[in-house]
Amino acid sequence: MTELLRVVGLTKVFGSGRTEVVAVDGVDLTSDRGEITLVMGPSGSGKTTLLTMIGCLLRPTSGRVLIDGLDVTALPSREQPRIRRTLVGFVFQTFNLLDSLSALENVEVALNIAGVKGSAAAARARALLLEAGLEGRLDFPASALSAGERQRVAIARALANGPPLLLADEPTANLDSRHGREVMDLLRALALGEDRGAVVVSHDERLRAIADRIVRLEDGRIRRIAERRTAAA
């Protein structure tokens, strides 16, 4: 497997002086194509901060993030949106769909942002939603979908522009066990189906089942990295 993500000495410090908080402290991490890396840890351990830095939503205080060999931390701020729409796809805990739009339109918007318009965008969005098992729900307003269906739409949106890296923040936190299981299976199938990689941040122990690598984060530092065989043991 080839390396997809390399995180080197990633650090994020919020505030200064007496209010200084080190949210992520010198994290080194790699993730390969075809691999799901699960980042676990207690609340406040820096999981989401780590994910937002990998996803170019937050500038690190120091350290580097390389996605597919490209040092995204070295790019100017104006380049960050391009990275977010081409190299990474996000899946959020609260889905973050646009409620006034249909399932299809939510995916189309992501394609529009990348410059794919009209029938090409509609066809691509339709194919992704069908792959996500949302037949018969394409034209439903996002607000009318169940939580599990909303997360499926969110996954389809994340994959719309074919990013090599999928970043998921607590993707099963708002789902019951059945829907959580379905989303996990979908993540596994879709995230890795096209030679992608995924970094999933979660408290959900069930996600261990689909993870190839489990990273334990505490106080902003990596305490342990377990490979799948170890994790399953």
């Binding site: 989401t48 994910l51 937002t52 996803g55 939503l57 937050l58 949106p81 391009r82 990275i83 977010r84 729409r85 081409t86 796809g89 996000f90 959020f92 805990q93 609260t94 973050n96 769909l97 646009l98 918007v109 992501a110 942002i113 990348a114 949106r157 994340a158 522009n161 923040d169």
Partner: protein, 349 residues
């Protein structure tokens, strides 16, 4: 809600503009009457403030003036009409004689009632509590209300009589108030005026437009300037409502814009969405506001005849364009706010 805000702003602006137009139209009746030149007694400042008396029997001589197609003797003065509660209302009454064979334009025909009939302004009619078919007794003469006219307001109201009653109620023996001259096509009004004044000693000529302006000045010197200020305020308040509506709609959608930024939307992509949404809201709101204005102006005028409105197409189009333009301009108000949206906010529950 955004559409409603824009519609409310358009309603506000259009109602004030139509009120301004309605009151500005005082005296517009002169443009509807046949004839372009009014021969009046010398020194007549305007029909409202001055009484004009000219010798009768000069119509035939005036008809021979080059460029004159027809001569219409006019009897006119202020006349008190009885009100429902026992009071009286002053109206500017005119009776225009039309010699046989004079071509009366269709829009002027309502001002030539049959004998025993009177056309009164709808504002006066509301005050007097009468409607078409009602009977009035004016200075002992029984008159039937033929129809209701427009062009009047709380300050100036018009009434039109048949010359038969006009001579008795408005005229002096051997006198007329004015001669209204209908110019032949292509005739020079200046030359016609000079020749006509020479025919009737002690007279002077005014154009219909001058008389119309004289009436308009009655209103514009007082009330209309206040309405003019209200129009300005209407535009400012309406513009502020549109700007605030657009800003609020954008702020309410801040999280959605954050999501778009998080999934890779550039700042220009987000701005384009805001401008496009503002344009659609502006279009829909303006159309709704125009429809509401038409209904509201009609309802208000029915209930309060003194609220004289004139909703003109040119104003409707102007306000429509202004509302859409204001919506687009207003979409730039929240640009700073959009810039400050942190896409990482989407990770917060």
């Amino acid at each position: 809600m955004s559409v409603g805000g824009v519609a409310f702003a358009v309603l506000l602006i259009l109602l004030v503009v139509s009120l301004y137009r309605g009151w500005s139209a005082t005296g517009s009746v002169y443009s509807k009457l046949p004839g372009q030149v009014w021969l009046a007694q010398a020194g007549t400042v305007d029909p409202f403030h001055s009484t004009s008396l000219l010798p009768a029997g000069r119509a035939a001589a005036l008809a021979r003036v080059p460029g004159v197609a027809a001569v219409l003797p006019v009897y006119a003065r202020h006349l008190a009409f009885p009100l429902g509660g026992g009071g009286r209302a002053d109206a500017y009454a005119m009776a225009i004689g039309a010699p046989r064979g004079t071509a009366i334009p269709a829009e002027a025909r309502p001002y030539f009632p049959a004998p025993g009939h009177v056309v009164i302004d709808r504002v006066l009619a509301a005050e007097a509590g009468v409607q078409p078919g009602s009977r009035l007794v004016v200075l002992g003469h029984r008159l039937v209300v033929d129809r209701l006219g427009s062009g009047g307001n709380k300050i100036v109201q018009f009434a039109f009589l048949n010359p038969a009653e006009g001579r008795a109620l408005l005229g002096e023996p051997g006198r007329v108030s004015y001669y209204l001259l209908v110019a032949a096509p292509g005739a020079s009004l200046g030359a016609l005026e000079r020749a006509a004044v020479a025919v009737v000693p002690g007279s002077e000529a005014h154009t219909s437009a001058e008389f119309a302006r004289a009436f308009s000045r009655l209103v514009s010197s007082g009330f209309l300037s206040v309405v003019g200020v209200l129009v300005g305020i209407g535009f400012v308040v309406g513009g502020a409502v549109i700007a605030l509506t657009t800003y609020t709609a954008t702020v309410e959608k801040a999280r959605d814009f954050g999501v778009l930024k998080a999934v890779g939307a550039s700042a220009s992509f987000v701005y384009r969405i805001v401008v496009w949404q503002s344009l659609l809201v502006g279009l829909a709101g303006a159309l709704l506001g125009i429809a509401a204005s038409a209904v509201a102006a009609d309802l208000i005028t029915r209930r309060v005849p003194e609220f004289v409105t004139d909703l003109r197409l040119v104003d409707v189009l102007g306000v429509f364009g202004a509302a859409v333009l204001m919506s687009i301009v207003a979409s730039f108000v929240p640009v700073h706010r959009l810039n400050r949206i942190d896409p990482a906010m989407v990770f917060r529950a």
